[in-house]
């Protein structure tokens, strides 16, 4: 029912990628140093370096993830506009995708069930499925 619209906004900025890459490489260096320090039997510095390294990596992954989520939110899902057709006589209702030339209260061909009555467009609208975020205050 929905078509995806791609905008240029959904790629993560190179600026951020650069920063994250630097942070990550520093964290990896810290981790390697931690392992090295551990092998040299220097436990406290190894612990510190390990904490710094893990913290750095977690932070960069989190910021990348947040950014990609934000850009995913920017990808707007455009619901299709539907045309709703009704026969006033027998009450048959059908809907189809909007076509150029449709408008509300346009008379169409005769109803397949009752040959004397014409069908009419009673509505042209879109239905937004996902609920908007509601702030209860």
């Amino acid at each position: 029912m929905t078509q995806k619209q791609t905008t240029t906004a959904n790629k993560i900025s190179t600026y951020l990628i650069l920063i994250v890459l630097i942070a990550m490489s520093l964290s990896i260096v810290a981790l390697i140093s931690a392992v090295y320090a551990y092998t040299q039997n220097m436990i406290p510095p190894a612990g510190f370096l390990a904490i710094i390294g893990i913290f750095g990596i977690v932070m960069s992954i989190v910021s990348l993830h947040q950014n990609s989520q934000r850009s995913a939110a920017m990808k707007i899902e455009v619901p299709k506009v539907m045309t709703y057709i009704e026969c006033k006589n027998c009450g048959t209702k059908i809907s189809r995708e909007f076509q150029r030339g449709d408008f509300v209260f346009k008379e169409l061909d005769v109803c397949p069930k009752c040959p004397e009555h014409k069908q009419m467009i009673t509505g042209v609208y879109k239905e937004i499925k996902e609920k908007e975020k509601i702030y209860e205050v």
Binding site: P45, F103, V104, F105, K126, E127
Partner: protein, 390 residues
């Protein structure tokens, strides 16, 4: 910020376990890497102190630049969409892009207001000329365009013009802030950008709806009027408006709206003036139904009632209506259907469509409670009549 560097803590710990950091980083002696860390901390402090604002500005500029790029994309997409549609419906054989670009740059200068007496007529005239000018241009660009399509194409072109204008203004301030390197220029721009972007997105959605001829959120007023006048005899009144005389709860209701299904808001001011004069002012009540901007926290499609002329635009129509109302002392009631700016110009939402019946119930109550049988009331469905017939 604490100036006690991490290195001190590290060194305390390392002395406790009796190791020397030179074993680890290979610098000469204890002092080596501590000093470097300390230097780094102090250096960082000074950088932030002296270049903090500049860094902040960099970040803001990046932010604005991103939005500007997005705006450019929206604008270009709108232009392309407009050109494609004009080509498709106009069946033009020549390249229309240069002509469309010329139209996109149109400007309107509002009348001089130093001595405001009579300014409404001046503004009205300028808007009329502008409207006609754009219509003429659409005819030149798309010679096969007529009636409904002509109106829709005019609206499409106007949406593309608005997008072009927004982009140019934002670009202007962006370049200006780059040139002056002023934090305050870029700050102002960054502050209003979220609202500007929302508006640009709304115009972009509007452009698509206009080019296809789909009813938009603003069309709810005409939709309600159409529902009321369905199956009755309809005549044209003034330019681009229609009226139908409908028996309504023992009263006579003169239901009015802009003529559809082309994109068109008509001239409600002139049309209501004409109808009031035709009835020699013997109108028991005027009810205006329009889409109204909702505040955050209100629901889309809520119906609310009030007093006053519910009509947007530059104010010319509201002025004309109010003049006549005062002359004949006609009470005016307004009913609005709540929606936000994005909903108002993008294809109609289900909630708004469903609000039409609720609004009609309100109209019925108003008429029954506040007028006598045999009275004449005017009910005007204000808004763009795109995609709504009658």
């Amino acid at each position: 910020m604490s100036l006690i560097p991490v290195s001190d803590i590290v060194s305390q710990v390392s002395t406790k376990v009796n190791i020397h950091s030179n074993q680890f980083f290979g610098f000469g002696g204890d002092v080596g890497w501590q000093a470097i860390l300390q230097l780094f901390t102090v250096g960082f402090f000074f950088v932030i102190m002296f270049y903090g604002q500049r860094l902040q500005m960099r970040v803001m500029m990046k932010d604005v630049e991103g939005s500007l790029l997005k705006l450019k994309n929206i604008k270009d997409e709108g232009r392309k969409n407009a050109i494609d549609t004009l080509k498709e419906v106009g069946k033009s054989t020549v390249d229309i892009a240069p002509r469309v670009d010329r139209c996109l740059d149109y400007f309107t200068i509002s009348p001089q207001g130093m001595d405001p007496a009579g300014i409404v007529d001046k503004l009205d005239h300028i808007l009329d000329v502008r409207d006609q000018r754009i219509k003429d241009d659409v005819k030149i660009i798309a010679p096969q365009c007529e009636g409904t399509q002509l109106n829709n194409m005019e609206n499409t072109l106007e949406a593309a013009m608005a997008l072009n204008y927004i982009y140019k203004i934002v670009r202007h301030y962006y370049i200006q802030s780059k040139k002056t390197m002023s934090l305050y220029v870029v700050m102002q721009l960054q502050m209003i950008l979220p609202i500007v972007m929302k508006e640009a997105e709304a115009y972009s959605a509007a452009l698509k709806a206009f080019s296809l001829g789909q009813p938009i959120g603003d069309s709810v007023g005409p939709l309600i009027a159409s529902k009321l006048m369905l199956g009755q005899e309809i005549r044209k009144v003034h330019k681009d408006c229609v009226v139908a005389s409908v028996p309504f709860e023992g009263r006579t209701a003169l239901i009015m709206k802009a003529e559809g299904p082309g994109g068109n808001v008509g001239k409600p001011g002139d049309a209501i003036e004409t109808i009031i004069e035709e009835n020699e002012g013997k109108i028991a009540m005027l009810i205006m139904i329009d889409a109204g901007l909702k505040l955050e926290g209100e629901n889309v499609g809520d119906v609310s009632e009030g007093i006053g002329s519910a009509i947007g635009g530059p104010g010319v129509d509201a002025f004309k209506i109010e003049e006549k109302l005062v002359k004949y002392k006609i009470p005016i009631n307004a009913i609005i259907i709540k929606e936000d700016i994005g909903d108002a110009v993008s294809p109609m939402r289900k909630e708004i469509h469903n609000a039409a019946d609720k609004a009609i119930e309100r109209v019925r109550e108003l008429v029954v409670e506040r007028t006598k049988e045999g009275d004449t009331v005017i009910i005007f469905g204000v808004g763009n009549s795109i995609g709504v017939g009658q």
